[in-house]
Amino acid sequence: MSELLRVENIYKTFSSGEETLNILNGVQLSLKAGETISVTGESGSGKSTLLHIMGGLDTTDSGSVNIDGVDITKLDETSLSELRNKKIGFIFQSHYLLEEFDAVENVMLPFLMNNYNKNEARKKAVELLVKVGLGERLHHHPSKMSGGERQRVAIARAFMNEPPLILADEPTGNLDNKNAERVVELLFDLSRERGHALVIVTHSPTIAAMSDLRYVLRGGLLVQED
């Protein structure tokens, strides 16, 4: 399988006041297309920061992030936005759905951004929502759905443009255990079935165990566990 993501020598420091925090100290990672990996680590170890850097939402001090052979740290804002739209699907701890739109419309948004064809987008969005088990909730607004349902809508939205890379930052952090399990299973099933690579940040060993490879972020370095 070909290499999808290559992270090389990522350094990142934050300065708050007088102190400088070295969060990432030369992170290395290589991810093949369709591979699923988990990242665990203590709170504050820099997992979210790393994920944001891999998705082009945050900048690095040095190092490079290659996605499909393109160094995204060198891209301008426009190309980066386009890359995020086509190559990356984000899932966050909170769903961040748009309150004013129903489930289908929320899922449609990433598609509409580069092809304003509502009919086509709607068809695809409905398919995905049925797939994540929300066939009965298509026209519910976020405020009328449960936490698990909202997160499933967010998953459907992340898969909408069929991005080769899915980045999930504690996608079950706000859910109870039973819901969390179902949502995560869904996430892994969808990724594997469609051949998307998945990077999932989690605190749960059970969830980490579901991935092909497990990593820990410790001391600013990504270490593979067996």
Binding site: E99, L112, M113
Partner: protein, 446 residues
């Protein structure tokens, strides 16, 4: 562009669900609407006032179009002195009648007549004097020119302009302390070249008023036959009334191209007054526009609040592919739609108010009078009070029996466009700020 538009419209539709945004958005919409209502009412009343004043003038004083027969446009540069002097006298009746017949053939012309006028001093029994333009008109002008007939309202006497009679305004009558049937002396000079003052004795046959005292004071009318007996070489001029008063300028320039250089229209004749009135109107409009400008500042804070409330949604839109410019345009659309939401009721209510202004004023007057009467009746139960006066918004001497209102589509489009421009400019600052929001900062796990 279309997606931003779609999202902005949805924000508007659901803005009622968010209390912060909805109350602030409502303030914006209402203040823009009120500003526009102010503008439409102020401008259309001013326009109506200008029209009212101008209408009086072009019906009675300047006419729609006139051909000044005393203008010496054809004085030959060479030839005998007598010939040149003859030309300098201005045009006589026959010559002007030919011009009249030519112009009256135009189907835009509704009424035409020859007239002539000169300054005159009116005296009554040696005690009181007044000055007026003594104007000779055809006797049948009241029958055939209904614009003139309507504007010149008779207070006393008749409108016959019979031989040896004169019509004066109520203002002049007051000054002279004269009444219908009394005789007055008119002294006048025919032109600047002579020094001989002539005097005639005429009977007051009618007292009129147009309602605008500055105009009234200037006017005194005599019939054609009376004029013929009084004046010798006073040149004739031609007056025209058109079917459409607003086509006067067009009419003039068309005929001027044919060589009728002495034609002038009412706008030229009233140039000074017209531009003064228009200046007043524009100042009032500018003040109201300032009010509107302040109203639009609310929009800035509303967009600001919305951006703050929606910052996570902005983050997610950015992470799914929106560039900063798209976030900015999303909030510009929002500003635009809020403005449109204010403009639509503003224009509608403004126009409704203007079209029904007289009814509303009359109604308000009636209500006030009724309340006044009620208070009087209640008060009367306890003590003797003087009977209240009926509340009238227009004094009977005011020139207009009602308020005219008029507003053009251009003026509506102007204020609409200006509001949109203001609104988008006001939205620009918070919208740009929204574009600069960093997605990683708003999407961090909380």
């Amino acid at each position: 562009m279309r997606l931003e538009n779609f999202i902005a419209r949805r924000y508007i539709r659901y803005s009622g669900e968010n209390r912060e945004i909805s109350s602030s958005a409502a303030t914006v919409v209402i203040s823009i609407a009120v500003g526009i209502i102010f503008y439409i009412c102020a401008v259309s009343i001013m326009n109506g006032y200008i029209y009212g004043v101008m209408q009086l003038s072009f019906e009675v004083k300047s006419f729609h179009v006139q051909y000044d027969g005393s203008r010496q446009e054809n004085v030959p540069l060479t030839g005998s002195i007598e010939k040149r002097r003859e030309a300098m006298k201005g045009k006589g009746y026959t010559e002007m009648e030919e011009i009249r017949l030519h112009l009256a053939a135009d189907k835009e012309v509704k009424y035409s007549a020859l007239y002539r006028e000169t300054n005159a001093v009116l005296q009554y029994s040696g005690k009181s004097t007044a000055v007026a333009f003594l104007r000779e008109l055809p006797e049948d002008i009241f029958k055939n020119d209904d614009g003139f007939d309507k504007a010149v309202r008779l207070h006393k006497g008749n409108k016959n302009l019979a031989f040896g009679e004169i019509m004066i305004s109520s203002k002049t009558a007051q000054k002279l302390k004269i009444d219908v049937g009394d005789k007055l002396f008119v002294s006048f000079m025919e032109n600047d070249n002579t020094t001989s003052v002539r005097i005639r004795k005429l009977t007051v046959s009618g007292i009129f008023s147009c309602g605008l005292s500055e105009l009234d004071e200037q006017l005194a009318f005599i019939g054609r036959e009376t004029g013929r007996r009084m004046f010798r070489e006073l040149p004739y001029s031609l007056m025209l009334k058109l079917h459409h008063y607003d086509k006067a300028a067009q009419f003039c320039s068309a005929y001027q191209a044919d060589g009728f250089m002495a034609l002038t229209n009412w706008e030229e004749e009233n140039y000074n007054e017209l531009s003064a009135l228009r200046f007043q109107r524009n100042i009032i409009a500018m003040i109201v526009i300032l009010v509107l400008f302040v109203a639009v500042l609310n929009l800035l804070s509303t967009i600001h609040i919305t951006v703050f409330e929606k910052k996570r949604e902005i983050g997610i839109l950015r992470s799914t592919g929106f560039v900063p410019a798209q976030i900015t345009s999303l909030f510009l659309y929002l500003g635009l739609y809020l403005a449109i939401l204010g403009i639509i009721p503003g224009v509608t209510v403004g126009l409704l108010l203007c079209y029904n202004l007289n009814g509303i004023i009359a109604g308000a007057g009636k209500i006030l009078s009724a309340v006044n009467m009620m208070i009087y009746n209640i008060g009367n139960l306890f003590f003797e009070s003087p009977k209240p006066v009926t509340i009238e918004f227009f004094s009977s001497d005011f020139y207009l029996d009602k308020l005219y209102t008029s507003i053009s589509i251009t003026e509506i489009l102007f204020i609409t466009g200006l509001t949109l421009l203001f609104s988008v400019s006001a939205a620009l600052f918070p919208a740009l700020k929204a574009g600069y929001i960093k997605p990683n900062e708003v999407l961090k796990n909380e």
